[in-house]
């Protein structure tokens, strides 16, 4: 048997020639297959779906990322008068620990790669909120040579919050809309259904 041409996901037939990494991968695959495709997976999902969904929608961590005017309203939204913390909204500074990318301003061509990178650095499940006209369509700068007209040209956007700048109430409303959206798109962790 040719050892060099081992398939990535070997079947049981050549179990003798496994390396430990292959074995782990194989075991992983088998377990995952069992969990995902068998009634075990869907049963677990059935039991935990609501709970996980409740947790996910009640603990939204947006990225602490200010671009323009709306960034101030974002700050105000977490200050005493509007108090977004009531809904479990806590700003984290690193994309690794965030659920929501809050784009609150025009995206210039210089920023575009950085923003895309931030989005890619976030762990899933993740959502994007386009806050304010600039993020939705470019706003007053829609025909500028330097502004990308709308953040949805390169990042999928879930919630649009209109306003120039969007008021803090509107931002909180956006978070509640996002909660509703998460609630409606209920998915099991294992089967993805």
């Amino acid at each position: 048997m040719d050892l060099k041409s081992r398939p990535n996901n070997p079947s049981l037939g050549n179990v003798i020639t496994f390396r430990s990494k292959d074995f782990v991968k194989w075991a992983d695959g088998v377990l995952e297959g069992v969990l995902r495709r068998s009634p075990v997976g869907s049963g677990v999902d059935y039991l935990t779906k609501d709970f996980f969904n409740w947790a996910t929608r009640n603990s939204i961590y947006p990225l602490h990322f200010g671009i323009m005017c709306c960034a101030l309203e974002m700050a105000v939204a977490s200050a005493p008068r509007f108090d977004a913390q009531r809904f479990g909204v806590i700003y984290r500074s690193t994309p690794r620990q965030c659920d929501v990318l809050l784009v609150n301003g025009p995206v210039s061509k210089k920023l575009k790669p950085a923003l895309r990178r931030l989005y890619d650095q976030m762990p899933g499940p993740k959502w994007v909120i386009a806050m304010g006209e600039c993020a939705i369509s470019g706003g007053p700068f829609y025909n500028s040579y330097s502004v990308v007209p709308g953040v949805d040209q390169f990042i999928p956007v879930d919630i649009y919050i209109p306003g120039c700048p969007a008021r803090p109430e509107a931002l909180i409303d956006g978070f509640i809309k996002l909660q509703k959206m998460i609630k409606e798109s209920k998915k099991g962790l294992l089967t993805g259904k």
Binding site: K109, K110, N143, S144, Y145, S146
Partner: protein, 169 residues
Amino acid sequence: MGERGTRFLREGMERPASRIDDVPEEKVIRSLIDSFPSTVTDFKKLGKGVVRARIARRDLYRCCKFLKDQLGFEHLSMISAVEYDKRFEIVYHISCYGSCLLLELITSTPKDDPSVDSVTSIWGGANWQERESYDLMGIKFNNHPKLERILLPKDTLYHPLRKDFKGGG
């Protein structure tokens, strides 16, 4: 105009003749004329404490040095570049902390060779403003320590504020 204080008056409004000698802008004009008789021209008083003058490109650096060292213009407020049909005009707004004067120094450069001497070594604040003028208008500043694009990405090919650039705006 004194009470409402002001905004810069239009040319044509004149102040009482008797006080002209006391006003420092006259002194500035006089000393500039004395030092650069041929290159500094076209003086105009725009309002209280605002003087406009034109200067030939070759004497810009020397004149700025003179302004800073001899006349105490310590603050370079703004460098703006304006494009006209045949030339670029570069407008320096230079002000003085002590006497609260603002000097609008205009120099022009032909379109095929848009370059002037950098004044960064005189006023450190000119550094980024010159880079900006280079970035947006494409004016070259000789002897600038680091003449690179500042606002736009490094690989941009155009100078957006030029009138022949039609993309956006």
